[in-house]
């Protein structure tokens, strides 16, 4: 097996007396399509917050490309190549769609040169994602699916090695889900490793090569989508006895 891109080792996170993550370990290999599932409140988003640096971990280590990043601030992790999208889109509302992309291009991807390069690159990303006609609109004028696409486009602009997609498809129609899935497949073909957090089983099962299941802050299963579907422990976590 290739050396892991991301190694999470015994990660623990507590909120007061509540243990949101209890010694969770997992590793993601380069180029993989990795699914992370679990019932509501199982700690998926907390795990992502710890990996992206939004929350400090209370215990355990996180390594990226072999380097310990447990104490590295979030913006620096983004520059290293760990980029996340948000479950609820968080666009920069005072900027146009293209300017939204300029921020990560300038800050994360290291394109410090002003003007034409950044703008051209933003347009290129928008056209691969099918949002170029909206480049000069403000986020307030976007539909729900366009908002999700903006979220992904902005993440792409940060030039990720590892893209963490946090419920990018919640609330979308079937056709829209296929649309987003196609984008994620294309990104993966370009060599971007993707962690998908999703409640929509059809999407995760189709997308993921390997899935880890969390329940109540613990890792309860790991395997291929087929194995996960047939796993009685997973079934119990989702449906009860």
């Amino acid at each position: 097996m290739a050396p892991a891109l991301l190694e999470v080792d015994g990660l623990t996170k507590r909120f007061g007396g509540f243990t949101a993550l209890n010694g969770v370990s997992l590793d993601v290999t380069p180029g993989e399509r990795f699914g992370l599932i679990g019932p509501n409140g199982s700690g998926k988003t907390t795990l992502i917050n710890c990996v992206s640096g939004a929350l400090p971990a209370d215990g355990g280590r996180i390594r990226f490309e072999g380097r310990d990043i447990t104490a590295v601030p979030a913006h620096r992790r983004t520059r290293l190549g760990i980029v996340r999208s948000f479950q609820i889109p968080k666009p920069f509302t005072s900027m146009t769609v293209a300017q939204n992309l300029a921020i990560p291009l300038e800050y994360a991807a290291g394109a410090r040169s002003d003007g034409a390069d950044v703008a051209a690159e933003a347009m290129e990303i928008l056209s691969t994602i099918g949002l170029e006609s909206k480049a000069h609109t403000r986020p307030a004028g976007l539909t729900q699916i366009e908002m999700r696409k903006l979220e992904l486009a902005r993440a792409m602009a940060a030039k990720p090695k590892l893209l963490i997609s946090d419920e990018a498809m919640a609330g979308l129609s079937s056709a829209e889900i296929d649309d987003i899935l196609a984008i994620l497949f294309r990104l993966n073909e370009r060599g971007i490793t993707i962690i998908m957090i999703e409640h929509i089983m059809r999407a995760v099962m189709r997308f993921s090569e390997r899935i880890v299941v969390l329940d109540a802050g613990e890792r309860i299963a790991e395997g291929t989508p087929d194995a996960i579907v047939r796993n009685p422990v997973v079934e119990k976590a989702y449906l009860g006895e």
């Binding site: 939004a54 913006h75 666009p91 509302t93 005072s94 900027m95 921020i103 800050y107």
Partner: protein, 311 residues
């Protein structure tokens, strides 16, 4: 390069015009009122770097302004330091306070940050009231240096304030158009998303609070020589907090022009009201105009102009 040369030329032209106006020795009231308006140009511009660009509303303007003024008082009392030293020292001390406030943003956001800055102003005022060396609650008379340029010290201070305004506006404009300004705009819109997109939010916030603090301190440092009698109630006047916020809001907070327009319009209106109606009408005017703008033109005059132009 050509653009920055032009900016420099415009700045120098404004300073030149200010010096010329000072040399003309017109009605002394012009300099007297002009100083206050220009002082507000600096204050509004400084406030806007934090409040407008970064979205952290600072109610503690009086604290920074008065700290600049009292740093000057201290230096006048202890060493009779020359005006440039007072201005630099006032900026430095208020800048340090700004840096400290910057660390507050780690824990306090939105309205809680604003409340903390308001409290800061009160705490600082209480400390000054109990510090006899700089006059305590009774205040202190300051003797102006003799033989000022342009024949009168107020005229000289007017020319100095022209220079400080140009410096403040240039700094604000530079920040706004640089990658720092774009990063601040991102964190104003959504701090969490900005951090996740590679923006070093803490460092940018510290930068904004410090620069804002420096400029507010700089605005306050010549104050003792302007009024010649410094006491806490006037130095920590709530007017500064209200005006510092109202002027950029009326002019428009997303651009460096906004605070300048707001300060000139509102500052002039206040000066006129003070002489023609009554000095109490000042804040009344600010209040009415501010409410009108917040309701009718939340993006200020700059926003109105942009809308009319169809952008």
């Amino acid at each position: 390069m050509a653009r920055s040369t032009r900016t420099l030329l415009v700045g120098l032209a404004v300073v030149g015009a200010g010096i010329l106006l000072a040399a003309l020795r017109v009605n002394p009231y012009v300099y007297f009122a002009g100083y206050v308006i220009l002082q507000y140009v600096v204050i509004a511009t400084a406030w806007n770097i934090l409040g407008g660009y970064a979205g952290y509303v600072n109610f503690g303007t009086p604290a920074f302004f008065a700290l600049g003024a009292y740093t000057a008082v201290f230096l006048i009392q202890s060493t009779r330091a020359p005006l440039p030293v007072l201005i630099l020292a006032g900026g430095l001390v208020s800048g340090l306070l700004g840096l400290g406030i910057g660390y507050l943003t780690l824990r306090l956001r939105g309205v809680f940050f604003s409340i903390a800055t308001l409290a800061l102003s009160i705490v600082l005022q209480t400390m000054i009231i109990n510090w006899e060396y700089v006059g305590g609650s009774r205040g202190l008379s300051v003797i102006r240096p003799s033989g000022p340029p342009f024949g009168s010290y107020v005229t000289f201070l007017f020319a100095v304030m022209v220079l400080l305004s140009v410096v403040a506006v240039t700094v604000a404009r530079f920040i706004e158009r640089s990658w720092v300004g774009r990063g601040l705009a991102a964190l104003r819109d959504n701090e969490e998303a900005a951090e996740c997109m590679g923006v070093p939010t803490l460092r940018l916030k510290l930068f904004a609070t410090t620069v804002s603090g420096v400029l507010l301190g700089v605005a306050g440092a010549p104050f003792p020589y302007y009024v010649t009698f410094v006491e806490p109630t006037s130095a920590f006047n709530l007017d500064y907090a209200v005006n510092a916020l109202a002027m950029p809001m009326i002019g428009g907070t997303t651009s460096w022009v906004g605070p300048v327009i707001g300060a000139v319009l509102l500052g002039t209106a206040q000066q006129l009201a003070t002489v023609t109606i009554s000095s109490e009408m000042n804040l009344f005017i600010v209040g009415v105009v501010l409410v009108a703008f917040v309701v009718l033109a939340p993006e200020g005059i700059v926003g109105l102009v942009r809308r009319v132009r169809g952008r």
